[in-house]
Symmetry: C2
Subunit: 411 residues, 2 copies
């Protein structure tokens, strides 16, 4: 059974808003082995919704409409679906009672508008809304299932989980879709593909998707089987071959972020970390502390944007700054060693570079970044040239620093 999602709402056709409900729905549908084949976004407009709904009826066996169930005249879903399916709308007293009770509980009286929400196309089941007034609808016609859900994410999610999942499960063969997310650093998307395409192309189940994200290449595997265990074993079979092909560029097979993986490595080895950042301006510290429990290994750091602060907070000798300039190998080294000494951490990181857009020169262009790592075994420093704008340079620099930590701990 393939699904199609129609998100209804004029705000979803502006530059400001995205339909995010479909991501939630896709995840839940996939868990039942149902794939989403089309997504359509259409405004609060009867004629255009009619058109989109007719198209969907011609090609999909499960159609989920989201939004458009509110109490105002903008909300046209109920009318459109009833008309297209030729089922007259009837008031359901129990819905009216529930809405009136809800208003009473909130100390208000029901607006006349809300009566629209009590209307149900003949022969449809209505779905309880525990978070709001608009009931959902479940309609089966000519072998097609049509589900109508309210637009607000909390209402939609609660209703789908409570009312739709088990109903759907009865309609599809007991099938299970499981996924696994590998992430690699230090390889381009094309290099990852070159290494693993000969492997994954021989499998149609699991299916493989390669995604380039800022800082990492992700490999998503999705397997279908009759049981979770069977799906997992399919994932493991292909996954092990992918792991072998990508080697130590792979930092997770469970979808974790690089800062989470680094955090686990530090905890395992009982190491602590401190950082001294210039061009990344606190982004490395911020990423490290996104992880709950990071206070167990991350002591803190210095954001030394000015030269004076490089000296004050991380003990970089002033003459080093004068002789080499702030963006230089020796200063990166001194930042890493200085912050380690200053904080008593087992590992210190120093980052200095030119994030742009200004401040570059022929000799030291935008994107030039030096990263140093100091620990009890000594200090290493690497030079990078990152492409892209300020945001990308900063992101790549923190990614490179995290990867240096991961490799240092692993070795």
């Amino acid at each position: 059974m393939d699904a199609e999602i129609i998100a209804v709402g004029s705000e979803l056709l502006t530059p400001f808003r995205q339909d995010t409900n479909s991501l939630f729905l896709t995840d839940k549908l996939n868990s039942l082995g149902i794939e989403v084949r089309f997504k359509t976004i259409v405004g609060d407009d009867s004629e255009r919704l009619t058109q989109a709904f007719r198209v969907a009826l011609g090609r999909s066996r499960l159609i989920i409409l989201t939004g458009g169930l509110g109490p105002t005249e903008d909300d046209v879903n109920r009318q459109v679906v009833a008309e297209v399916l030729a089922r007259p709308l009837r008031e359901v007293p129990e819905i009216r009672q529930r809405i009136e009770e809800r208003f009473t509980r909130l100390g208000r009286t029901m607006a006349e508008n809300n009566l629209r929400q009590t209307l149900v196309p003949e022969g449809a089941e209505w779905l309880k809304n525990r978070q709001g007034t608009a009931p959902g609808l479940w309609i089966e016609q000519d072998g097609i299932v049509i589900i109508m859900l309210p637009g607000p994410p909390r209402e939609l999610e609660g209703m789908f989980e409570a009312e739709c999942l088990s109903r759907l499960a009865r309609l599809v063969p007991a099938q299970c879709l499981r996924s696994r997310v590998y992430k690699a650093v230090g390889l381009a998307e094309s290099e990852v593909d070159q290494r693993i395409a000969p492997i994954y192309k021989t499998y149609s189940n699991p299916s493989t998707t390669i995604l380039a994200t800022p800082g990492a290449i992700e490999v998503h595997l999705r397997a279908r089987a009759a049981s979770e265990a069977e799906a997992d074993s399919l994932l493991t079979e292909l996954g092990e071959k992918i792991e072998a092909a990508l080697g130590d560029h792979l930092f997770t097979s469970r979808g974790e972020s690089l800062e989470e993986v680094v955090g686990m490595c530090l905890v395992l080895r009982r190491k602590t970390l401190a950082v001294a950042e210039s061009c990344t301006g606190g982004l490395l510290a911020e990423r490290l502390t996104r992880v709950p429990g990071s206070s167990n290994y991350f002591l803190g750091g210095a954001v030394c944007y000015s030269n004076e602060l490089k000296t004050r907070l991380a003990g970089v000798p002033q003459n080093l700054l004068e002789e080499n300039g702030a963006v230089s190998k020796p200063v990166a080294l001194a930042l890493a060693e200085g912050i380690r000494r200053h904080t008593g951490a087992s590992m210190g990181i120093g980052i200095t570079g030119i994030a742009g857009p200004g401040g570059g020169s022929d000799e030291k262009p935008v994107g030039l970044v030096f990263i140093a790592l100091a620990d009890e075994r000594g200090t290493q420093v690497r030079e990078f040239r990152f492409p892209g704008d300020r945001e990308r340079v900063r992101l790549w620099a923190t990614q490179a620093a995290l990867e240096m930590i991961r490799r240092r701990i692993r070795d």
Copy 2:
């Protein structure tokens, strides 16, 4: 002329990825007075794309297809469009030459696969890609304009701006859509609506949209007119009333972020800033340094996650920590004053709190944050209770700190 966008890519039908290109395209199309009426998302599948494309041809005068122009066999857009429009594909030697040159410049040789990208449906114009290999395509048939753009956002955006905007402008009546974005802090979405609904409801042009974003409420105005000047004067008329209604909660009428506004305030008053952060872990420094040129006013800061670092980097007396606990008013004050003294900045900020999910107690629950500001006029400290998860608490805390700076400078 109404537009329809078809985003092609199987990854856009997974729970992991969103089509974001359509937001960029909608914004640009709106600026020409073109509205987007439908968005469709379809996988890399010839049959389903054929279906979606045929549907679009039946209802829209401008169809933009994004993605599906890559060098691999997954990428089916070229073939599908050529077939549906009955225009055979022909190799264009100039495209081949450009791709080969690009590979030579990068020191690599062109893969055989890339030849697919040299194919153009008969009678179509091809659009230069300055950021990648895949050319775009522009086709006019039976009064319908079909634009095909590559999927990677940088390539799509560059190509659309350089190659499509002026071509489209020639096809639509000289009409102009201009927008203005106001942002407010310290008011809930419903409070903003209550204050301005009586005003904006009397205008159909400009149209008004209120959006709640993390940390700010945005009011988007969009005006249509025959000229930019006319549209701008419509915006100004409504905008001034909205400014009066929202008062000093408004921090921009030009869409800037709060950190950009704070940066401009600091530059204007020739002030410098340093920060000492605990629970926000570097996020405040990171936000401040996202702004190009922030080195003119931001000296740097300390991320003092451990108590010891609060003492070492920001000079918080140890007994203060022992007597009050790290999350307390006196420690916030000491962080702000300490980092100001330590760095010589004209203004110091101190933040300490409990971001969660762990670490809370009845007395000091998750979400409790103290923020202090020290300058030559003295030190002020505020207590906040932010709702939500770790990420939201951290974001709200930095937003509150930035707002304290903005108000202190303005007063």
